[in-house]
Every structure is written in C-alpha cells, then in structure tokens.
Amino acid sequence: MSASLPAVSRLAQPAEGAAAKLSSRVSLPRRHSFYEAMWGWALIAPALVFLVVLFFLPVIGVFVIAFSDWQFGASSLSFVGLANFREVIFDEGFRASLINTVVYVVMVVPGTVLAGLLIALLIESSHSCRALYRAVHFLPFMATATAMAISWEALLHPTIGLVNHSLAALGLPVANWLRDETTVLPVLAVIGIWQNLGYAMVLFMAGLKSIPLDLYDAADVDGADHWLDRLRTVTIPMLGPVSMFVVIVVALRAFETFDTVQILTQGGPGHSSEMLLYTIYRESFEYLRAGYGAAVAIVFLAIVVALTLLQARSMDKRVHYQ
C-alpha cells in the first residue's frame, strides 16, 4: 500500500500526455477496453483450462460412465440408460450404505451442533482460560484423521483398549465396539462428533461476537437480567441464521466421511458401517465396477449439491439480516 501510493502523484502528469497522443489515433476507451480484455483472458486462461479439464470434463465423464456400459480398459461404450442406477438401487450394499450414511449424519449433526453451541456459550461466558479451551477443542478438526483413527482403534480395542478397561472398572458391560453391528455406526458417529465439534464451536463463537451488546442492555432494561433469560431472549434468537449455516456445513462434512471407515471398519461387519464415499471408492477402484461406482457418485453429488445450495441460501439470508 505505502509503496504504490506515491506513484499516483508522481506519474499522473506524464501519463496524461501519453494518453493524449494515443487518443489521436484510437479512441482511448476502446483501445483501453481491448487491452483490458486481452489481459483478462490471458490471466484467466490457465485457470479456465484447468477448471475445464479437472472439473467440468470429469463431471461430464462421471455422467457418461454412469449412463453407459463403459468398463476399465474398454475402448468403446454404448449408452444403457438407467441400467446402472437400477442395479445400484436394487443392491442391498448400496441401500445399506445410503441408510448408514443418513443415520450417521443424523447422529453427527445434532451432536456436533449442540456440543459446539454449548461449548461456545460456556467459553464466551467468561475470560478465564478462554484461549486454552478454544485451542483444545479445535485440535481434532485439523489433526490427520487417519492417524487419529488409529489411536481410536487402540482406545476401542476389545481387550487392551482404554474404553473397555474403564467400563469394566466401573462394572459396566464391555463390547467389541468396531466389530459389533449394533455399536459400530454410533461409535463412528461419536468419532465424527469428536472431529467436528471444534469447527461448530468457532463458527458459533464468531456468531456470538456479532451480536450487538445493546441488545443485552435492552434485554436488561426489559427485566431479562438472569443469564437464562438473556440466553432465551437474545442469544439463541440472534444465533438462528448462524445455526442454519453450521448445521449444513457440518452435515456436508459428515456426508464426506471416508478416512475413519477406511481405517477402522472397511464398511464392516457386513454392510453395517458402509458409507457412500467408501462405497464409491471400493466399487470404483477395488471391484473396478466403474458404472456402479459412477452411479453412486452421482447420488452422492446430488445430495452434496442440494445441501450446498441450501447453505448458499442460508448465507444470503444472513447477509440480508445484517
């Protein structure tokens, strides 16, 4: 900033002279707009080429594969309509995967959002240890999920894990958490909440900071001076738009869960912890069923796009709101 500002005064005059000379041949605005357009295209060209090659052609590719009989190594393909989708929908594995994913998301989202909100409210309610608590709760969000999944596996180990040791010491029943059909998905959901609650927390903390203090003063004057009244009359209503945003962002992250499934369960036992992204990976790259994998990918894409568009709408609302 400081380097470029003196340039304005220093160069304003000679440049005007040069511009006057130019304008005698080509009108300045036209020449300038041509120059600007050329630069615009030149600067955006690399990004545009990569966007087309790495995003738009692959999207078309997924649809082509999903609606055709193409297989790895095939040099030709013919369109088969909805055959791949029919196979997917009637496949027990896919239905289990879709249901598991939805159940997992339905467990992770409320857990993450409520825990994130509670922790954000508690941390912001006083100055003491605020930075420490915030840092601690945010740690799992950036820690390598693969490595942390390995640690979770050790914690949940049926014989040497801390979880079963502690439960046994308290006289509570133990379980083989990751090998039991009834516990595996809730356990993955707990890990999902553990990973994401810090993210929900920082989003809520930002939301809390944006609430005008006058509102609390006004509530005070109106007799809402107990902390519960303040929470009910000011904080929670004012966090409404942020909450909508947090719910969708956390849902998106939950839908994209892959690492914990791959490391801890590989979808098992049976299909009981199979989730969409893992199904896409396994069908496409381990079983090499390209058409099947692409069809599942399109189902996944539809869910993610729907959620993202909802998020964009909730962001719009937030902007109008302020």
């Binding site: 100055h127 240890c129 930075a131 942390m148 989003l203 994209e256 990976y281």
Partner: protein, 278 residues
C-alpha cells in the same frame, strides 16, 4: 456475552463442564502419545497408566523412523503440499485479479463456472480423474498427486473477494507507473491480500497433508506415499499389533500441524473455516 460476570458457582460449573469436554477431546491424543512410549509387554498388560512404567519411547520412535520409511512419507507429503500450494497460487491469483478488476467478454460466465466448481466435491470426480491420469501416463507419480488440485475454485473465489476490496485507484496508479497487469497481480494485489493468501495456504496444506482418499487411488508405490497413506500401509503390514511404533508414527504425522496450529491459532481458525470467521 462478554459483559457477564459469573457467580462463583457458575464459574465452577463452567470450568467443570469444559474440563470434561476437553478431556474427551484430548483422550485420543494422550492415548496415542502414551502408547508410543510403552513397550509391547506393557501395552498388552491388563492394568494401564498414562505414563509408561518403563520408557520405551526411543525404541518405538526409532522403529517408526527406520523400519518404516516414515521420513520418506512425510517428505512426500511436504513436497506434494508445497507443489499443490505453489500451483494453486500461481493459477488462482491472476484469475482472481482478472475476475475482480478487469472487464472482458465472458467474465461473468467464467465466474459462474468457478461457483459451480465450488459445488463439486473432488471425490465425485475421482473416477474420470483416475482415467485422465492413466491416459497421461502419470499414475503412480508425484504428478498424479498434484495435478487434480492445481486449480482451486475456492482459492479463486477467496482471492477475488479480497482483490475487490482493493481500491481501483491503486490499480490505475500502478498502470501509470508502467506495471503490466501480471506485475500488478504479484507486486500489488497478492502482497495487499496477504491475509487471504495465508488463510488459503493453511486451508490447502491442512487439506492435502491429511488427505487419504486421492493418494489411495493415485499411487501404489511405497516410496511415493504421503503420510496418511503411509501410516495406513504400515498399519496393514503390522496387522495392527505393533502398537508402539504405529502410535509413534501417528504422533509424528499429527505433530507438525498441531504445533503450527498452537503457534498461529488465529490464522488456522480463519483458514480452516474458509474466511467465514473473522
């Protein structure tokens, strides 16, 4: 909220709950480090403690570094993250400048393409990208790990937002000063939007250091694997029984980001939440 003074009882309750949730958050980290310091005999003993009875850390970490090519995995991760980030900034900053400050035919359409790109999860594109890498003959090379990420719609979007806030007068002055548009991008725009560049860099490095999905598809050779794929391979090889070295390896993979986070918390929170937290 900050104006409230808590009563002693409320303050105790606040700390009580937060200490409990902090413990829940920290247990996997503590357990990971604790196991990385213990001998196999102690890990499989019925009783347990956080601190090792017999310090076995040197053996475990030595094994994680020597018998597993962990430094190689981490070096791969560092190289791939650096190449991806460099390519993303090189590609995205000029594009964002063109979208923010230049008028040209088709600009709005290209910006719409960037927004559509933001919608697309990379995992959905993995099958065609795999085929593309196969056709280019770059599967199982560093290029396969980098190429799919050289352009980031999020990067273009974020930089454009910041560049738009820079006054047009500064751009005009730079032009009169004789700077080309490309020079304006690198000498004026990027330095002035440094917070955005740092936030984006953190976002990008964290995402790709931690990524398992695409490396699992793109490389098979052990000497090309980034850290998450490397420790996954180590875990499968050891059939999950050699916990000490496995936990030492996990600790070493997680440590760099956590240390960086503790050193620059504000930047990390901003980067990881996509600039939605200011």
């Amino acid at each position: 909220m900050s104006a409230i003074r808590l009563s002693p009882a409320a303050a105790i309750l606040r700390h009580g709950v937060l200490v409990l949730t902090s413990a829940f958050i920290l247990v996997p980290f503590v357990w990971m480090v604790s196991l990385s310091l213990k001998s196999p005999g102690e890990i499989f003993r019925a009783t347990f403690s956080v601190l090792p009875a017999q310090f076995y850390g040197v053996d475990n970490y030595a094994k994680a570094i020597t018998s597993v090519p962990l430094p190689g995995y981490m070096g791969n991760g560092l190289l791939v993250c650096a190449l991806i980030l460099a390519a993303q900034i090189l590609v995205c900053a000029p594009a964002a400048y063109a979208l923010a400050k230049l008028k040209f035919w088709g600009r709005d359409f290209i910006f719409a393409m960037v927004l559509v790109g933001l919608l697309l999860p990379h995992q959905v594109l993995s099958l065609p990208l795999f085929i593309l890498c196969y056709k280019l003959g770059i599967l199982n090379t560093y290029l396969a790990l980098v190429i799919p990420y050289v352009v980031s719609p999020f990067g273009i979007f974020l930089f454009r937002q910041f560049f738009r806030k820079i006054p047009d007068d500064i751009v005009h002055a730079a032009r009169l000063d004789g700077l080309t548009e490309l020079a304006i991008v690198w000498k004026i725009m990027v330095p002035m939007a440094l917070p955005a560049v740092i936030a984006f860099s953190i976002f990008s490095v964290v995402a790709h250091w931690n990524d398992l999905f695409w490396p699992l598809i793109a490389v098979r050779d052990g000497h090309l694997m980034p850290a998450p794929l490397g420790i996954m391979a180590f875990k499968n090889e050891e059939a999950g029984n050699d916990y000490g070295p496995l936990m030492a390896a996990s600790t070493l993979v997680v440590a760099p980001l956590l240390i960086a986070f503790l050193a620059a918390q504000k930047w990390f929170v901003e980067g990881m939440t996509g600039g939605s937290v200011k």
